[in-house]
């Protein structure tokens, strides 16, 4: 009994030493996740400030300048250039120097004075569709607010006064939503890479045969290989969460006692997937390729970038099988909403089922390979 514990411990220690001995691998395990966290935290934004605005002001009046000011003072638009020829605007959009063009016709101020409806032209570069949609929304709002302020006294202009409040994230910062999600991606990446390679590398180098002749049993071999990965993944989970809270000021409203069990289930699933990949790969190259094949759909169909609710129904069903999707919900709810197991049990339950199923499949596959080798 103690011999078994000893053997597992020795193998685990050998694995950890092998992983942590090399400075470059150490960097990979602990620094790369931080870099990725920073990238996701700063690069991924859905609000679009400083949209490049090109102005063609044919009117050159006090009123037209007031409208341009209304655009730039909001902070949503940045005036990158102006001219009095429409063709310059077309060139600016073509070259990508501007995303939105505002063209104010001759007689704008006079029409306003005569209390008639004055039209302005908004031209939007649609080649980046989400930026265009958001920028167009801002622009329409600015123009109608400008118009409302200039509605002649005495004439009733019906207006809606829309008051918005957002719960859980009052300033609607993308970062607060995205950073907790990165935790799920990075842990999956870590578990898959380290597990799959720990086994495939031994096979490729032929050192698996050396291990076969030691008194190590198959179960002990697997434990010794996977426990270090689980430890590293847990350390990563803690480090990334701390950076998210301390650096990015992400609120942590829930309980670590919900996050930790869900995290362990997710790590087990990741390790099981890594084992499955290693069971179908002979070389590291094959393992990498297979990893990508698993990784990409599980990230794209997780709801990380793209809300699950906007997907076609068929794909929405597929996401139910995706462990990343369930862990993402848990991470986000624990961080931002602070709700507990009472609301999260369907996702934790799904994670449990997926963890058990993938681990079962992995052990079955590896058992068959082991039997074939003997």
């Amino acid at each position: 009994m103690s011999g078994r514990v000893l053997r597992v411990r020795e193998l685990a220690r050998k694995e950890l030493t092998q992983l942590l001995r090399d400075v470059r691998t150490r960097m990979l395990i602990f620094v790369a996740p931080i870099i990725q966290l920073l990238l996701f935290g700063y690069a991924v934004r859905t609000d679009v400030p400083n949209t490049a605005l090109w102005v063609v002001d044919h009117d050159r009046s006090v009123e037209s300048r007031a409208l341009i000011d209304a655009f730039t003072t909001t902070g949503y638009f940045e005036n990158v250039g102006s001219s009095d020829r429409s063709s310059d605007l077309a060139d600016a959009l073509d070259a990508g120097r501007a995303v939105v063009g505002l063209e104010i016709p001759v007689g704008f101020a006079r029409t306003l004075e005569r209390r008639e409806a004055a039209g302005v032209q908004l031209l939007v570069d649609g080649s980046q569709s989400n930026t265009a949609t958001v920028a167009l929304g801002y622009a329409v709002r600015i123009v109608s607010a400008f118009g409302r302020a200039r509605a002649p006294a005495g004439i009733a202009v019906g207006t809606l006064d829309l008051r918005t409040r957002a719960w859980f994230n009052p300033t609607l910062e993308s970062r607060i939503y995205n950073v907790p999600g990165v935790i799920a991606l990075l842990i999956l990446l870590m578990c898959l890479t380290l597990t799959a390679l720990a086994i495939v590398r031994e096979r490729e180098f032929g050192t698996l045969d050396q291990l076969m002749v030691t008194p190590l049993r198959p179960g002990e071999f697997l434990l010794g290989k996977t426990v270090p990965v689980a430890v590293i993944a847990l350390v990563d989970l803690a480090v990334i969460s701390l950076v998210a809270i301390a650096w990015f000021d992400i609120p942590f409203r829930g309980s670590a006692f919900v996050l930790l069990p869900a995290g362990i289930l997710f790590i087990v699933t990741g390790i099981a997937l890594g084992l499955l990949i290693s069971s179908v790969s002979r070389t590291q190259q094959e393992a990498f390729m297979t990893m990508f094949l698993v990784l990409l759909p599980s990230i794209i169909l997780s709801g990380f970038f793209y809300p699950v609710g906007s997907m076609p129904l068929l794909f929405q069903w597929v996401t139910e099988l995706n462990p990343v999707r369930h862990f993402l919900v848990v991470v986000r709810v624990v961080f931002l909403k602070g709700e507990g197991i009472a609301t999260l049990w369907p996702h934790v339950g799904a994670l449990t089922v997926i963890a058990a199923a993938t681990m079962g499949a992995a052990l079955w596959r590896l058992g068959r390979i082991g039997a074939g080798a003997r």
Binding site: L28, Y138, I155, V157, T159, A166, E286, L301, S310, F315
Partner: protein, 368 residues
């Protein structure tokens, strides 16, 4: 450098690839899978947001307002809340992403011309969706009041026109940008392994014993991967055009030439990483960090570069995918040529030359 020896290295690499059926299959299957997922599963437009309505006005005007929310296509009413209920409970319970509250005096305010307040409550825990929902709602609200009383509309009206992608279809944005991401993955997966593998397996010594020069090795090893990349790009362009209906308005020749530059830059970079690190594990990870992730996050493919903080904006300047995304969008959607795209084209040529130079320099035949 002789062509014969270069060809021999290329043939050896191609043979090795051909025998490695899985890598070869995945080199074609992965791009197809990505196209499928990005083309069908993913849309950046947020539609059918769950809207709960708390209508305290119960008037014709309030019903028309709700109708205009539904008619926009962005919202669907999932619940009509009873008068007494707390709007926040619907959000907290996850019943709705958005709650629209219309107060009792809504119709009176609207007809009298004083601003009629309505309230929108959003589930901010999904900030991305909430921002978009808020944006849609503001536009609907801004257009609603003037439409109710024709003739008394706002004195300034914006006529909006969208160029290049008239219906603002996110597919038209994604597919041209996706080609950059696909190429980066090929670089991270295939070329990043090619030299590290020889080091790890010890076959580098065999290679060193042959009269092959290093330029011949680098070019010879690049060739088969460039071929795979070209096939992938052609497949992606055809699928984008025929399956997803993305317009291809500009010059195919220009697209082909600049794609080749981007391919050489990405693949040479992968090879440089491979030769410098000499370990397959490290090489793929570093290649992924330096090609795939930047192509996804820092290229402007999905996320606007203008919205990033200054430091990141400066970082994007050394991301080749950034220039390539501008080029593919320019050629696919805007029908612009070299007169507009020359800065990006120059940048790509420089990256290709630089990465190739790095690959050549770092690749030392002598065994350390």
């Amino acid at each position: 450098m002789t062509f014969r020896r270069l060809w021999a290295v290329a043939r050896k690499e191609a043979l090795q690839l051909r025998r490695d059926t899985r890598s070869l299959a995945l080199a074609f299957a992965l791009p197809a899978l990505l196209l499928l997922l990005f083309g069908y599963a993913i849309t950046l437009d947020v539609r059918n947001l769950d809207l709960a309505v708390l209508d305290q006005s119960r008037s014709a005007a309030s019903r028309r307002l709700v109708e205009s929310f539904v008619a926009s296509g962005y919202f669907r009413v999932t619940a009509w809340l009873p008068r007494s209920v707390d709007a926040g409970a619907a959000i907290a319970g996850g019943e709705a992403q958005v709650v629209l509250t219309i107060p009792p005096g809504f119709e009176r305010d609207l007809t009298s011309g004083s601003p009629a307040p309505i309230q929108l409550l959003l589930d901010g825990s999904d900030a991305n969706t909430a921002t978009i929902a808020q944006n849609y709602a503001e536009v609907i609200a801004a257009r609603f009041a003037p439409e109710q009383r024709p003739g008394t509309g706002l004195p300034v009206q914006a006529q909006t026109r969208v160029w290049y992608n008239e219906n603002l279809e996110s597919r038209n944005t994604i597919v041209p940008g996706l080609i950059a991401v696909i190429m980066s993955i090929i670089a991270a997966m295939l070329t990043a392994l090619t030299i590290a593998r020889e080091w790890e397996r010890g076959t580098m010594e065999q290679l060193a014993a042959t009269p092959v020069r290093r330029t011949e090795v680098v070019f010879g090893k690049l060739l088969p991967y460039v071929a795979i990349g070209i096939i992938d790009v052609i497949g992606a362009v055809i699928a984008g055009r025929l399956v997803f209906g993305v317009p291809l308005r500009g010059s195919l020749v220009l697209l082909a030439v600049l794609t080749l530059c981007f391919l050489i830059a990405a693949l040479s970079w992968g090879m440089f990483v491979s030769a410098a690190l000499k370990s397959q594990l490290l090489a793929t990870q570093v290649a992924m960090l330096t090609t795939y992730l930047p192509a996804l996050l820092l290229s402007g493919f999905i996320f606007s570069i203008a919205a990033m903080p200054l430091v990141l904006r400066l970082v994007t300047l050394i991301v080749p995918a950034r220039y390539y995304v501008v080029i593919t969008r320019g050629i696919f959607l805007k029908d612009v040529g070299l007169t507009v795209l020359w800065p990006e084209a120059l940048a790509l040529v420089a990256f290709a030359a630089g990465a190739l130079g790095l690959a050549l320099r770092s690749f030392k035949k002598q065994l350390a």
